[in-house]
């Protein structure tokens, strides 16, 4: 436990942000860098990873780009090794990788279901493993945050969310188990679970005022999540301020899960 000004600083830490080019991932990456961490942006798209890292370097921070396929376990380990080799350590993992396929449950195809589970759940497991191997070897603990969703807890009426809900629900108990197994190594594993977040991915949907109005009507705070809301919760979980929290899920949802 440091003094309060140290509670939000990450100087000297190395952070790996997977899916680090997406709307949430890039915002998290910038936030971690601004807090003093050296950041590695890992993404399936090498050009985007390089661009995101370059933009962070332009702000005067250390940033590295790595490409990897989150569907491949050997690739995932190789990427984590590459990052640890580059910076000489790995202290923080923030997993922002995720995908979504919507199909009615009675029509869901096996290959589409597998893609969602493989990327959102199996991918999380093996990113966590790849990073934890370095954290355990280093012997100075670590912090892992996985991005969940309000769909960990809430089903969605009238929509084909079986794969997504199952993958994110599984992520919650996966992280609880990882927290239990790795606590002796002082690796904290937690989940930040946002609701609908404003990113480029959903810009089209949000431009429809009736869609936006119906969306915020059920959110007590009366707005959707901004990437910065998610970033702030991630910063809390990777900082010493949350040292006694592990295996928990925090919903960053403007009150949605509390009132559904």
């Amino acid at each position: 436990m440091g003094f309060p000004e140290d509670l939000v600083r990450l100087d000297g830490k190395v952070a790996l942000i997977t899916g680090g080019c997406g709307g949430i991932g890039a915002c998290v990456s910038r936030g971690l860098a601004a807090a003093g961490a050296k950041v590695a942006i890992a993404d399936c798209n090498r050009d985007q990873a390089c661009a995101t890292a370059a933009a962070i370097r332009e702000l005067g921070h250390e940033a590295y780009a790595a490409a990897f396929d989150a569907l491949s376990v050997p690739e995932t380990q190789r990427m984590a090794d590459e990052v640890a080799n580059h910076f000489g350590a790995l202290d923080i993992l923030v997993n922002c990788v995720g995908t979504h396929r919507e199909q009615k449950a009675e029509d869901f195809s096996e290959d589409q279901f597998d893609i969602v589970i493989d990327l959102n759940l199996k991918g999380a497991m093996f990113q966590a493993q790849a990073a934890a191997r370095h954290m355990i070897r280093q012997g100075r603990g670590g912090k892992q945050v996985h991005i969940g969703s309000v769909r960990m807890q809430l089903a969605l009426r009238g929509r084909g969310y079986a794969a997504y809900c199952a993958s994110k629900g599984g992520l919650g108990i996966l992280c609880k188990q990882l927290a239990a197994e790795w606590a002796p190594h002082r690796i904290n594993v937690n989940v930040v679970a946002p609701t609908f977040t404003r990113t480029n991915l959903v810009a089209n949907m949000l431009s429809d005022p009736s869609f936006y109005d119906s969306l915020v009507a059920r959110i007590p705070l009366g707005r959707i999540s901004e990437p910065e809301d998610v970033r702030n919760a991630v910063l809390f979980f990777v900082s010493p301020a949350s040292d006694f929290i592990t295996g928990q899920t925090l919903y960053v949802d403007g009150g949605v899960t509390a009132t559904q």
Partner: protein, 251 residues
């Protein structure tokens, strides 16, 4: 300093977890009202420590289970420190009584302080915040026992699980009016309330073996989490409960 310029009222802040919260709040820049019910000197010591950090502090006596005392406390703090930005409902008591032995009086006193007290302080606070057209923030202090069974707590555990429901329901009604409400559930924290556990070689190893991090928490480790909920860093969080227990609940 994430709470710079904010005024906070922390109930039961003369010792233990409440004291840890008060210390972190002061270091984060908040002025603090230290509520107590019996330990005037201990409360004054906490206030003196806060003043040493360059913040304003006051002590205020009130039994959180009595409306008139709560209203007087709220008025007094408002007058001396100004409008309250953050209310931390921390005051609580714990006894261990087997279910079959529990008396009406034991049930009533404990639930009065732990559940009705938090409801009461919150209601008095929210009414004033709304009348004055201000923003507010409430953090409830629950317990790992909201999700974990320990012996002799048939009166205590329901109050702490009840706080979760209170948090959700208050958040539904109050958030649209500008008051966020969240709840922190501490696990085994190193305080005088748990000192008896720490001194029992027949109990302590069994308890620590259930905690993933293998150690009790410190009061300040609750304080840093409460400070997060009280700060604008958590501006999109409301109605939530989180366990700060080193990995104890749910396994």
């Amino acid at each position: 300093m994430r709470l710079k310029g904010k005024v906070a009222l922390i109930t039961g802040a003369s010792r233990g977890i409440g004291k840890g919260i008060a210390e972190v709040f002061a270091e984060e820049g908040a002025d603090v009202a230290v509520n107590y019910v019996a330990s005037a000197q201990a409360a004054e010591d906490v206030a003196a420590w806060i003043r040493c950090q360059g913040r304003r502090a006051m002590t205020v006596k009130a039994d959180v289970a009595h409306r008139a005392e709560v209203e007087a406390m709220m008025n007094q703090v408002w007058e001396e420190l100004g409008p309250i930005d953050v209310l931390v409902n921390n005051a609580g008591i714990e006894t261990i009584v087997p279910f079959l032995d529990l008396t009406d009086e034991q049930w009533t006193r404990l639930t009065d302080v732990n559940l009705r007290g938090e409801w009461l302080c919150s209601q008095v606070y929210c009414r004033r915040v709304i009348v004055e057209k201000r923003q507010g923030n409430i953090v409830m202090i629950g317990s790992v026992q909201a999700g974990k069974v320990l012996p002799g707590r048939t009166h205590y555990a329901p109050t702490k699980l009840g706080l979760e429901a209170l948090t959700r329901n208050m958040s539904a009604e109050m958030t649209p009016l500008g008051i966020r409400v969240n709840c922190v559930h501490p696990g085994l924290i190193d305080t005088d309330m748990t000192a008896w556990v720490m001194k029992r070689p027949d109990i302590l190893p069994t308890v620590l073996a259930q905690i993933s991090l293998g150690r009790p928490g410190q009061p300040r480790e609750i304080g840093t989490v409460v400070a997060f909920f009280a700060s604008d860093d958590s501006s999109y969080l409301t109605g939530q409960s989180i366990h700060v227990d080193g990995g104890w609940v749910g396994k």
